[in-house]
Structure formats: structure tokens, C-alpha cells
Symmetry: D2
Subunit: 103 residues, 4 copies
């Protein structure tokens, strides 16, 4: 099944995420994991187990970002390439990828 | 000022974090940031700005982990080196560091 | 100054890198740094200083990859978006980005 | 089999790596891989394949660092914990870990 299209409005910089429900579900799970980590610390759980949980959250956030990036390239970047502003959109994509890999 | 000591009970694997309040405060802020990212997606905010926010959360989680690791080495690992089990504790430290850098 | 165009031949999957000289220069420097790290180990240099050097090499490799990715999106991906195969090219871009952030 | 001990001389900051041969072998392989990546660029190979190779080099460097860190903790840090300077050694360990995860 073709994924729904991203609706990109460069004018006011709003973007309707095509996988909005999926992203919100994943972020909701991440929020629950973060709460769980706080609880582990309150309950004096073993540090190594806590670090393992934080690593899992980071991996989950990576998946959120990869989903966002794929839809961003399929949507906004593709639009810009086809209708003008492609060079700027690509440069911005690389800047945010740099920021992301440094995080 | 000397930081408070980590109290490590290897028997039942409970650990009283010496920076418990700081860690909980940071995780609370992270939870707020994650909620903010969900709101950005609901409000159709620009994808690049969302990715930037997720990168900030990942960096914040790194700081949580580095705090945990420093206290873990000063506490549990140091204890094990001084009272037995050092080799096992160090091997476990490297395993969790590997997991963390892969996340 | 506009950067030179990437020449992408999807048929035989050859790509003339527009920043070939720059990339080769950077990789040459990386090769020198790796040799330097071997020398540090041979000369029994302090481990922390060696780890610092390896971290510098990893950052240098990140810059090589970001350059490659930017030219890849401006070249092959843009070509595919304009002349067919865009969806496949974008999916492949995200796959390699995932591999890269996991490394 | 117990791994050979790291010989740590804090005075002149020299350290005899217990896995010297292994580390040199791995770095030698990394040097070969970097040379191979230069060759790929010279031969106009597909960018995605090049990025995949660079990712492999980064993972190989991670393994070098994890080996160095494990021996550093077993050697220099353990020495410092047992004979004075433990707090400083642990703080330095976390600093270099931060630098490393940011790379």
C-alpha cells in the first residue's frame, strides 16, 4: 500500500505528517519509557539496567527521526526539487542530519 | 564539594543514586520535551524543527547516562574493585557502554 | 559558486563525485590519522589520548559521509525524483542513513 | 584465560596496552578499509555503497575504543582507585566517554 502523501505548505511552514498516528503512538510509548526510568531511579534500581533502558529510548527516538526524515524527503524536499528551492531544501536536510548524528 | 557517595548493594542489586534529585529533574524535563514533540506533530509543525527537538532530547538523555555512568564507576565499580568482583563489574560496564553508543 | 553537479548513472550504478578531490584529501588525512593512532599504541601512549584521537577520526568520517549524502541527494536522488524511481531512491537513502547513525 | 595486565605508568603517562597486537591488527585493517574507500571514490562507485563502507569503518573504530576503554578501566583506573587518584581518573574516563559518544 502506498503511504499517504505528506502535505507540505512551505509558505507557513506547516506540514501534515502522513504517519501522524504512528508517530504519536511511538512518542507516547517513549513518554511512558521515560516515566519508567524515573520510577527505576526512585526505586533505587541497578544503574546498568537504567542505562540499558535509556539506550532503548534513544533507539526509539532514532526510529521516530528516520520516519520523519523519510516523509520529509518524500514530501517537502521532493516538492522543492519539483517546484523550486531544491538546493536550499537539500542543504537544510543535511544540516539537520548533522545535528541529529551529533546527538 | 565532594559529591555524595553512591550506595551500592550488590546483593539485591539496588543502588541509591547519589544524584537522584538531579536525575529525576532532568528526566522530568525530558518527559516535558517528549510531550512537546507530540504537540508539534499534532499542530503540523515543520518536520525539520521536530527533528531538531528530538536531537535535543537525545543529547539530554546522553547527559543522564554520563551522570549515571560516572556515579556507577565511582560507586559499584569502585566497590567491586576494592572488595572483589572488579573484573566482572568492568566487563559489565563495557557491555552497557557498547549498548549505549550503539543507541 | 554553485557546486559542480554529481553525474549519476543509475544503469551501471557509477557516480562521479562532484567533490572527488575534497573527499580524497579528507580520506587521505583520515588514513594518516589512523596510522598515527597505531604509532601511539606502539609508543605506549596514554589510552585516554588515543581514545581522543579515535573520536577525532570518527568525526572526520562523519563529515565525509555528510558530504557524500548531500551530493547523493542533489544528484542521484534528485535525478530519480525527476526522472522516475524517486520512491525507491528515498527509501534507500533512509536505509543507509539508519546504518550510518547506528555506526 | 585471564587477559594480560595493562601496565600503567601515571608518572610519565605511558601505558603498555595489554592487547597491543590485537589493536594494531584492527587499526591496520581500518587503514586498509579507508584506502579501499578512496579507491571506490576514484572508481566512481555508487555513493550509497561508499557510505555503507564508511559506516563499517566507524563500527570498527568503536570496537577499538571499547577495547581501549576496558583495558583502561582494568589498568589505569583500577590502579588509581587502589593507590590514589581514583576520583580524578573516573572523572577523566567520563570526559573521554562524552567526547567519544559525541563523535
Amino acid at each position: 500500500m502506498k503511504s499517504p502523501d505528506q502535505v507540505c505548505h512551505p509558505g507557513d511552514k506547516t506540514v501534515v505528517q502522513p504517519h501522524k498516528a504512528l508517530l504519536l503512538k511511538r512518542l507516547n510509548r517513549v513518554a511512558g519509557q521515560v516515566k519508567g526510568i524515573s520510577k527505576m531511579i526512585e526505586e533505587d534500581r541497578y544503574c546498568v539496567d537504567i542505562v540499558t533502558q535509556v539506550s532503548a529510548v534513544k533507539s526509539a527516538l532514532d526510529e521516530v527521526v528516520l520516519r520523519l526524515l523519510e516523509d520529509h524527503v518524500s514530501g517537502c524536499v521532493q516538492d522543492a526539487i519539483q517546484h523550486g528551492g531544491g538546493e536550499k531544501a537539500i542543504s537544510e536536510l543535511i544540516q539537520v542530519t548533522r545535528k541529529f548524528i551529533r546527538s
